[in-house]
């Protein structure tokens, strides 16, 4: 009897899916998965992929390393699940902005401020994105879900810009991807480079007053580019 190597290997996302749905396992299967991902976010964000320790994740969840491997299969699989999770979260939050029902200028201000704030409030997300880039996108590439997951923001932005151009307030040659990039770049830099920048230029990047001022500057920078010149 060794049900050892069986590993149902819950394919990618899912529940233990035998054919009988309402079957139950001794303990808590799905709730554990969620708790593990949550803990993994903190750990990966804090130490990067290589730096993170499965034991540390286990410790944060009252489970064991073996348990996590049982659920996910490997460290990399956990990381991938984390990656998809955090991206899904930000796009989900973005979708609530309802940019299509705002005047173009308001919509842009809205998305800029939202992005700036989101990065600030979700340093974990930012750190994971950075870590993934440091890993040259090795893991991200393996996720099919990513592209479809991120399409909406660009499409929405494109519509907003088009409306702004139609009403004559935005410049003609404005590429949505480039605009999104500028917004992300300015918003992220505060967070990603806060330590070197803060140490070198003696600015506490987290200081409340400075943050508000900087957010205002970022907005102005974006509009400075987007706005149609006189």
């Amino acid at each position: 009897m060794k049900a050892a190597g069986t590993a149902p290997l819950s394919p990618d996302a899912g529940l233990p899916r035998g054919r009988n749905a309402a079957m139950c396992k001794p303990k808590a299967p799905e709730a554990n998965r969620a708790r593990i991902i949550k803990a993994a976010i903190d750990e990966f964000a804090s130490r990067g992929f290589k730096g993170a320790s499965m034991d540390a994740i286990a410790a944060r969840t009252h489970t064991t390393r073996a348990m996590i491997n049982y659920y996910f299969g490997s460290k990399e699989k956990v990381y991938l699940a984390v990656l998809e999770h955090v991206y899904a979260e930000i796009r989900q939050a973005e979708s609530l902005l309802d940019l299509d029902h705002l005047p173009p200028v308001d919509a842009i201000r809205s998305i800029v401020e939202f992005t700036f704030n989101y990065y600030l409030d979700h340093e974990g997300f930012v750190r994971i994105v950075v870590a993934e880039n440091q890993a040259r996108g090795r893991h991200l590439r393996k996720s099919k879900a990513m592209r479809s997951l991120n399409r909406p923001i660009i499409d929405t932005l494109a519509r907003v810009i088009a409306r702004g151009q139609a009403e004559g307030s935005f410049r003609a040659n404005a590429d949505p991807v480039e605009v999104h990039m500028a917004i992300a770049a300015l918003g992220m830099f505060n967070v990603t480079n806060q330590y070197t920048f803060g140490a070198i230029f003696q600015r506490d990047m987290g200081a409340k007053g400075d943050v508000r001022r900087r957010r205002e500057i970022v907005t102005e920078v974006i509009f400075g580019y987007l706005r149609k010149m006189a």
Copy 2:
């Protein structure tokens, strides 16, 4: 025969320090140090602090791990030397721009394009800065040299902006640090986030044509903010 006047310049780490200066270093002490740092830059840039392996650095230099520890003392000391080295390099390159002798607008364009290009051509530098930030500036803080090393760029930028304001082409309330930050943010993002961004939005961030176009956009963005409104 080898250079007698060695003066190992041991920064602070305890190298041999007899009182008799012109002593006897059989081999090449300082040259090795330089080679090691160079190799260490690649390794640290490629894998981050934790990911980097002393053995790998050793392999790149035809020496051994013990040798490196003999020269530097520890992995962290090597990393610190690397950090100071790459920062010194970029500031050195910047200083050659001679911004004080250019009209304000030209000076700004000059520094923006230089920064953008430098990051692009020195991905290693960028990756090390990012890695250090991911480590929350833990190592950087230990280096006294950093602040004085980075002061000049801000001072220079401040003078350029002041001149631009005096001649009426730049807005009144422009903070040099914030401007420097915007320039750095936009220039760095291309490099730091090229993998996630590229994978998600299907843009090859390194494509020659796109690069030139993006550099132009960055310049316009900066001027969009800096330029005095009509």
